[in-house]
């Protein structure tokens, strides 16, 4: 395909389709598909793609879209789908089933606010709702990051050391419906990156067993422990996948997180998705003016990259988290995770800011106000609600 201008949804549809097609000489691919704004163009793209060995099943609900993926994976196929917001909420039961079945399904979550009140704009609360569902979660900041991460997602999910499903998230409209210049992969490149999809526990006629039947507490504990162990294997497997990706594509996608100017920073801001790109520009400006400031773009949320985050924070003693999500009664969900990680760093002042909820623009002015607020603090407070119309 080469270098072109494409929307986030087009990029995602293309990457999913090529990954599915890459399994054409093996057991093929299967997608369950159901529309919801703002991801609909992804399933439209998949529906129009001519698979040599694959089927896109147009179902009646998100719950069944994931059901079809579960069935397709149980039969040994490469499976994928996409959803957003209330669609993810409706799908939830089968999202958990897919995780606990340990099926390497890849799902694009185009982040959108959960309703009511109805709001189609970006907010990460929908995919973060699935944090305990035994799925990996990646958050992408650009069209290129999205394209590359979807391919990495299949490579990591299907690795036998991991064998877990993956959510790849992007911002609704800000990424899904805008165009950026992007290097789209070719089929040949995807074929080279992705080994055949081999699901060891697929249904087999020569080995009749009941898959997903009843267990008692000791087997269930063992099952959960095995998933936790596999989550920990994601870090080395992801590094291997990035190495292979770099050999084939000549570029290296971001891993668990990206840090900028953190090695001597006193103040660090943390964000994900496109908000991190705005943040990066602000941080560069303030660096140029002599401030000891840095930033971290968190990309992998599950498993949570605790050690990488601690290493990236380095000597900084003031940290702000920008959360475009809200857990009522608590605060930002990224902040909760980061606070848990920072329990070993009591010297750090950690402050949460709830910004851009329901799709509000987060501008450089908003971010500068947050940095000013952080710099004046002598102690942290409850999560701050920033008026994004500053």
């Amino acid at each position: 395909m080469g270098r072109t201008l494409a929307t986030g949804n087009h990029v995602a549809g293309h990457a999913l389709a090529l990954a599915g097609e890459a399994n054409r000489n093996e057991r093929g691919c299967c997608a369950g598909a159901y529309p919801i704004t703002p991801q609909t163009e992804i399933i439209e793209y998949l529906s129009g793609f001519k698979f040599n060995k694959g089927r896109v099943v147009l179902v009646e609900s998100e719950h069944s879209a994931m059901g079809v993926c579960i069935g397709g994976a149980l039969a040994g196929g490469r499976t994928f789908t996409a959803s957003s917001s209330n669609g993810l909420a409706y799908m939830t039961e089968n999202i958990f089933a897919a995780g606990y079945y340990r099926l390497p399904i890849v799902m694009i979550a185009v982040n959108r606010t959960l309703g009511p009140p109805w709001n189609i704009w970006v907010d990460q609360g929908d995919s973060l709702m699935m944090r305990d569902a035994a799925w990996l979660q990646f958050y992408c900041d650009s069209h290129q990051d999205l394209s590359d991460t979807i391919l990495l997602a299949f490579r990591v999910a299907e690795d036998h050391r991991v064998m877990l499903p993956v959510i790849v998230a992007m911002d609704g409209f800000v990424t899904s419906h805008t165009q950026m210049v992007v290097d789209l992969p070719t089929q040949q490149q995807v074929d080279a990156l992705l080994p055949p999809c081999d699901i060891p526990h697929r249904l087999k006629h020569d080995h009749p067993a009941t898959f997903g039947g009843m267990t008692f507490s000791n087997e269930t504990e063992h099952h959960r422990y095995a998933i936790q162990h596999s989550m920990e294997q994601v870090f080395p497997v992801l590094e291997e996948a990035r190495d292979e990706f770099e050999e084939i594509f000549g570029r290296r996608p971001a891993g668990a997180l990206e840090s900028f100017d953190t090695s001597d920073a006193e103040t660090i801001l943390i964000a994900c998705n496109t908000m991190a790109r705005t943040l990066h520009n602000v941080v560069k400006d303030r660096r140029a003016r002599g401030e000891k400031i840095g930033m971290i773009r968190l990309k992998l949320f599950r498993p949570f990259p605790r050690e990488q985050l601690l290493a990236a924070i380095g000597p900084a003693t003031r940290i702000a988290v920008l959360d475009r999500n809200h857990s009522p009664g608590s605060g930002g969900i990224f902040w909760q995770e980061i606070a848990t990680t920072l329990r070993e760093r009591p010297d750090v002042l950690l402050q949460d800011y709830l910004v851009g909820l329901g799709g509000g623009d987060v501008t450089p002015e908003n971010i500068n106000a947050i940095i000013d607020d952080l710099n004046e603090r002598t102690s942290a407070s409850a999560p701050e609600w920033k008026d994004t119309s500053i």
Partner: protein
């Protein structure tokens, strides 16, 4: 009554010995006859949350001698769709069979079921209908007959049973039929015919539940025979959703012998008007359809 095929080793039976079914459960006969009808063919079983998955027992044992997927409650036709799609593209033509209770069929799973039927997926869907949520201790479902006492209708259910056969026929699927565990030849013939047809096939089996029906386990087959003879559970087939064939006509106009053996009907033992009105309306509809849209002769 039940058929154990002697040529097969026990572990390869569709329903293995040592399963956890209650005595007198309709599934025990139904699954064995399904096995017999399929002969040497090995299906994939797709079973949602219901007693049918409890039948499998606890990990790592399996009460089923064939690959079996336990799905979420409303998902068996969707999961079966994915299994069928990927199996077919790999040249595997073993039947994919959904085995679901009435809760998963009439109630929570009906949207998924309807969509799979509308897409005419190559699936055999068998509903073993015990007319209650048996697995949770016997609550009312959309399949519970009028007048029946359940744990959530202590005064007897006020509404009539949903006509799932008419709903499925309205999808114009290639084949829909009712199965009786008291009519072996009819049962085997219908399963074999269903197997010979492509597309979505729906089979409805009235399945006694002694604990929920408050009946004697050794009376289960007799109860189903009475349900058929009274006209409460008609044996019939619908081809392409349009052509009807009635397999057996009621030979008794009385419902009493059927309900007298079940304490769930104790509230209506002395007042069968509602149940009889249900039977009469059901037969008026069926007779009308079979007269106007008769199935072709064999």
């Amino acid at each position: 009554m039940s058929a154990v095929t002697p040529s097969k080793p026990y572990e390869s039976h569709l329903l293995r010995p040592g399963n956890t079914n209650c005595a007198g459960c309709g599934m025990s006969i139904g699954l064995q006859w399904l096995d017999e009808a399929l002969g040497d063919e090995k299906p994939v079983m797709v079973i949602p949350s219901c007693c049918g998955i409890v039948t499998a027992g606890a990990f790592p044992t399996s009460g089923y001698g064939v690959p079996t997927a336990a799905t979420t409650f409303a998902s068996s036709p969707a999961v079966a769709t994915g299994i069928s799609a990927v199996s077919k593209m790999n040249g595997i033509d073993n039947p994919v069979i959904c085995w679901a209770g009435d809760g998963g069929t009439y109630d929570i799973g009906i949207a998924t079921l309807s969509a799979a039927a509308e897409r005419n997926e190559d699936i055999i869907y068998i509903c073993y209908d015990n007319e209650i949520y048996g697995n949770t201790g016997g609550q009312r479902s959309g399949a519970t007959p009028v007048g029946a006492v359940t744990s959530t209708t202590p005064a007897g259910k006020g509404e009539r049973k949903k006509d799932i056969m008419a709903i499925m026929a309205a999808h114009r699927i290639p084949y829909a039929a009712t199965l009786s565990i008291a009519h072996r030849e009819d049962f085997l013939r219908k399963v074999r015919y269903a197997r010979s047809v492509k597309g979505f096939r729906f089979l409805l089996m009235l399945s006694p539940c002694p604990t929920g029906w408050k009946s004697e386990p050794d009376q289960s087959s007799e109860l189903i025979e009475l349900a058929v003879r009274s006209g409460l559970f008609p044996l019939y087939e619908v081809f392409d959703g349009r052509r009807y064939r009635i397999n057996q006509r009621p030979d008794s106009t009385a419902i009493e012998p059927y309900i007298r053996q079940q304490r769930r009907f104790s509230r209506v033992w002395n007042n069968t008007d509602e149940l009889q009105a249900f039977i009469d309306a059901q037969w008026q509809y069926l007779d009308g359809m079979a007269t106007v849209f008769p199935a072709k002769k064999d």
